[in-house]
Symmetry: D2
Subunit: 276 residues, 4 copies
Amino acid sequence: MTGKSSGAHQGSGAGRAHRAATWSTAITATTDERVFVRGVALDEAIGRESFPAMLLRLWRGDAVTDNEAELLDACLVASIDHGPLSPSALVTRTIASTRAAPMSGLAGGILAFGELHGAVVSRAMRILAGAPADGDLDAWADGVFERERAAERRLPGIGHRWHHHDLRAERLLEVASARSDGRHEAAVRALAARVSRHAGTSIPVNIDGALAVALTALRLDPAYGDFLFAIARSFGLAAHFVEEQARERPMRMIDPTAAEYDGAVVPGLELQEADE
Amino acid sequence: MTGKSSGAHQGSGAGRAHRAATWSTAITATTDERVFVRGVALDEAIGRESFPAMLLRLWRGDAVTDNEAELLDACLVASIDHGPLSPSALVTRTIASTRAAPMSGLAGGILAFGELHGAVVSRAMRILAGAPADGDLDAWADGVFERERAAERRLPGIGHRWHHHDLRAERLLEVASARSDGRHEAAVRALAARVSRHAGTSIPVNIDGALAVALTALRLDPAYGDFLFAIARSFGLAAHFVEEQARERPMRMIDPTAAEYDGAVVPGLELQEADE
Amino acid sequence: MTGKSSGAHQGSGAGRAHRAATWSTAITATTDERVFVRGVALDEAIGRESFPAMLLRLWRGDAVTDNEAELLDACLVASIDHGPLSPSALVTRTIASTRAAPMSGLAGGILAFGELHGAVVSRAMRILAGAPADGDLDAWADGVFERERAAERRLPGIGHRWHHHDLRAERLLEVASARSDGRHEAAVRALAARVSRHAGTSIPVNIDGALAVALTALRLDPAYGDFLFAIARSFGLAAHFVEEQARERPMRMIDPTAAEYDGAVVPGLELQEADE
Amino acid sequence: MTGKSSGAHQGSGAGRAHRAATWSTAITATTDERVFVRGVALDEAIGRESFPAMLLRLWRGDAVTDNEAELLDACLVASIDHGPLSPSALVTRTIASTRAAPMSGLAGGILAFGELHGAVVSRAMRILAGAPADGDLDAWADGVFERERAAERRLPGIGHRWHHHDLRAERLLEVASARSDGRHEAAVRALAARVSRHAGTSIPVNIDGALAVALTALRLDPAYGDFLFAIARSFGLAAHFVEEQARERPMRMIDPTAAEYDGAVVPGLELQEADE
């Protein structure tokens, strides 16, 4: 065989079957001078359209109201960091300590977003999408609860291993309720009530559940739920990477439970310390 | 040996040497109810502090002005996407086509940010940090140009393989100049002039160079330059992942040059088409 | 709050709940001079125990026969590469073309092993583990076929998009049958027969199915199935990374269907070319 | 603009500039029935050619002797695992604990191979490639030592943070010396002598250095050095992933220094324990 005339895969039918075809994208077009995202020139948007508005346009493809952009902004703020005990932050710090490249630390941390940490917002959104517009939310919550239990899946959006009550989630639900009809908040609260009844104690909506309510109100494809959380949190991962390399010696052993906070004063923490 | 009393690594000195020590972080503290980022409770920031302001606080650790938050917002908008021809977008789409998990597509795309694509903002910031406050910028630019050339490194922030003239960069420099003393813009323009003289044609400042000017004006640690670009672009990667799975069949062969744009109308493109 | 005495997470119960506990591992122990894998000193194994034998010991934890090591060796050879059209190879090459780091190219390629490419051997092993030792394999195959179909899952181990008939799979089954009782080969062939009946044409066992038979015969935990394939293939990904950086210019557009083979002579290919 | 006739990037010169061209690969060719790696049909190699022989053929492109295959086999054995204290194993375990996908755990662990852990064999090979065939190795070692020191780079291949003396390295050098002319072993020992003189104590060749000697003797492109180590170690990472999910509860806090070994008996360890 000579290399000149033959492809890397030879064969009668197969060759044609996997020939690359023309394909289409509706996201971005570029010219020699400009980049158009969903039809908007970035050079015109820079300094004029807010980032949350541009992001919602990118992900949803249609025009965005100020109200909507503010709600997405709130979702980004809510997700930005959760401290050094998160598996993702630990992975990023461990990679940073080997003096590997920044992108390695970032990608590694993102890979720690699994079914139990981070990557559950999309699933919560898909569940909420099934909530009846006019109907018995308690009956719906019963059904969801039984179905997830039968499948041995953890119900997403409810409860947290550390936070008995998570003020981020409460506040984000409040911000979302001012910008939507409240239907998805009612649905997630019905799920929390169902779980609480089962547990015999009050189990709150967590940050994943609140994000799912907000992003559903914003009419985003549920596929974006995990991306929103993971990418917003990536800004936090970057902070852990940079701090690790700036403050710690290379190749150290990181005991996550031995971390002490020595940053800006947090008044509430002193009181709690006194309680112990 | 019994497992009860012995560590996974045995030895006289070595055992002590790599015992995990208490360590400190100034980024985030959590309580049972709250998450404090740089001393600010996220539940209080949600819906009140803009995301770019919160991000600058996270990365810089001190208080942020509205002017500064607006400049960081503009940097995020400028980086959000660059279409399906970028190596990172192609990697994300190829992974999406195998029906691998969203986080795999995101992490894979990020790993394509290398020395020639994406991961050059930090290096540009480190170069700009060396520009003299009061001094001969042309002499400084000569020195930088010769040093990078001797080291066989590509000078970051200048020129682009597709954009002869990039309006995003020009616009971002304009927004940055309104919020800073112009010193770093002058420095990057001196570099572009030096490169242009060498090339015998006008080579513009590119988006990496404009980002480096803006982020330096914001007093960010240069280590954050590549993270800012990569994470902002990750929102675009998510759009490519979702579109790929929604519109295309699994395991297709993706010829990047066979992509056609079929999204929202972009008026300028028609004219250009007629020119061809 | 002062950082001196408080942890990064404060709280009554929570603090205790997530304190790191002593934990155990049965894989590897190290001393100042030696590394013991499953109780075997690597310095003694080097040059004396073959790599496939050591690998099977590492993954299975008990002693290994020569016959078993030879079968695992055959599995590694069968998986080593599949050319530049594989999504994983394309991802690795695209990352290589940006001049990103070797580990980025490798990790990126691995992330392309999804449900439709590579990461299906474990699932096939779990299905084969359910085949009856003494019983009606056709009835079992009917049941598996219907169950996977109802769940809208692709049955792993059967059929290939390019290879109508895959000699690697046939040969690996042959090698495996000489080293096992043939029960799992019979099971996978029953599945292929069931699929063929449904399709109205002969659909062969593919390389994933053959690997599942061999690795099940080796008594490996099914969790190792995807790892075996992915890591063996990683050696191929490395070859694509190195060739890409050695032969191609940076940041090129890679059309996977435009690849031509120009390596060592492959006699069979000439005939086929003449057929077209 | 209509999507029908325009590409995703419009422009006079640019469009042509980044059109995908035909390209060549010498690694692998596929037909409908077969896969040929470096001209060898995998179906013929399975069960006949050993994996290390096939791997060396894949990476080097030419025929392989038994002696060579045995040396590469020894390199794979030497690299297979190093226990739970390695940053890469910790990353893989942390990701496993979130119940993320196996490929995520594997890719994440690989990303922890940085300049200080794992990814130094290629650099050591490049240094050894410069050793004079007939000349003063001590003078060469002096030069290398001073150059790396001036560049503030750690000299690869010499010394280890835990192992004062590493029997794996000694044994691998012994196996390599029986299969080569000893020139590269002499070179790495000259480097170790130079470092020892500087440190005022004996610093041994480490496993990276021994791998560099062996892989150089095998005439491999230095680019493969880091890949060999990282991929061989990936088999160990898989063992940590599987053990973590089998033995530990999800989302645990992993203190790397709290690991206890409870595997197969390792006689030497008891004595050492008694010494403490």
